[in-house]
Symmetry: C2
Subunit: 305 residues, 2 copies
Amino acid sequence: MNFKETYDIYLKTVEEWLETNIPLGMPDRIIPPATQNAQEKIDDAMKYSLMSGGKRIRPVLSLAVCDALNGNKDIVLPFACAIELIHTYSLIHDDLPCMDNDDYRRGKPTSHKVFGEAIAVLAGDGLLNMAFEIMLEEIERCDRDNNSRVKAARMISHAAGTGGMIGGQVQDIESEQRLITYEELVFLHQKKTGALFSASVLAPALLLDADENIIAALDTYAKNIGLAFQIKDDILDLEGDSVVVGKTTGSDAINNKVTYVSLFGLKRAKELLNERIQEALYSIKTIPGNRFLGELAIFIADRNK
Amino acid sequence: MNFKETYDIYLKTVEEWLETNIPLGMPDRIIPPATQNAQEKIDDAMKYSLMSGGKRIRPVLSLAVCDALNGNKDIVLPFACAIELIHTYSLIHDDLPCMDNDDYRRGKPTSHKVFGEAIAVLAGDGLLNMAFEIMLEEIERCDRDNNSRVKAARMISHAAGTGGMIGGQVQDIESEQRLITYEELVFLHQKKTGALFSASVLAPALLLDADENIIAALDTYAKNIGLAFQIKDDILDLEGDSVVVGKTTGSDAINNKVTYVSLFGLKRAKELLNERIQEALYSIKTIPGNRFLGELAIFIADRNK
């Protein structure tokens, strides 16, 4: 199977898990008609963003690591999808008028454009909360044999929090309209994008009780593809086609945002991207089933959206 | 000890736990100065709302139930305080311009007034996430002896989610400017305020492996004081002193909001409040150490803020 075929199988596995397991359907008891509409509205808003045809890179990463370690996907899927919920909530909140004020995401109007700001805030809250509901249900279901699942959930909670993704988002806001250094830019992205990328790669390793040297290798891999992903985002904002990318391009320059491109120019940014990919490929050399992970790193650099 | 003395001891226990255990201080590694400022900013915003001198009714309830069941407070405190973090995040998001657009909370400017809307959204996100970080750390720390803690955390996650508190908030928004029925109003409050009240009462019962009949009694108690709390809120909005209450009063009438007072008038609302308190007192008759819980129910009805 080639890269695209394997990616599509992972993607389909994720989509099916989400459709089957995310309780965004009928409420669990008889409620007054008006409140039923409200329940439907928040469910619809959460579904709208969650099932909007994203690349699902994070859960695909988790499934790829699971396969590389010859693991059982049923163990990994709830945690991989919980990370996708966390990622989706972060996009909804990032797009809000008080944040990036984006009208389009993945080629569709953003949540607050469709449902209004209040529901968009709550849909984000709901997805973050649901991510933890999913993980805790899974931990409870496994009763006393839940040790590695607890470790994975706790690691994910740190990655998503103010020491990770949220902290990175704050730094992003605080860095606007100000010349930040390369060091600051790297640190920002390691948190904003990198933390959840790393969680996606490390969660299956923890869930499958991988050896420490495997975990260390995957950690280096994740850090490098996380940064590569961000450098590529910066490049796409300059030279991407907004129709293909699915969101407004050129906004970094308009907002005077410091990016890899603004700091180093397009040519050097592409070199930096390539360096990260090479590092990522090198780091997983010792992992036997590494083929797809390597191809995924290259895909991140080559994507056009 | 009288009611106030006991309440103050519980309050102090909660404040001390939060101050000691919530990682809102120095970041855990050396970071660039500019990013350090960002970390401080989100920490400050979270602290501002979390340590703003609220009544802490929810964690106080948890400690009171813990005492009534002769339990160990060290087991209950992390979960009680996690609920307080969830409550605090919900207030920050509720106060946002796109939601209730409130300028004051607990007598102080609301989060978005002090830190701006973007940081207020993220501070709320950060507190919700941190609540789960705290619970998962506690579950991990207890290793294989974590069964009752997992149950409590999962129950709290449901209470906070779209099937609970967030769902109630959505219904509240959807009910604005519309005449809702009594049935709808009760259902709304059972979710918006009641779910987290119930979680505060039931979490210690689960953590301490209480009997089913005790859990059922506490469940009825929690449902009744939760509704009583909301009825009292409606009454305070009409006849409370905004300086004492610590937020703008009279806003329900201005916003044409359906409340217990608008539906039944002040006199009948007070009767309904009293009925709920009587039900609450009756429900815990069989629990030996119930004195403070009974006094707390009466305090909820009698409070002036």
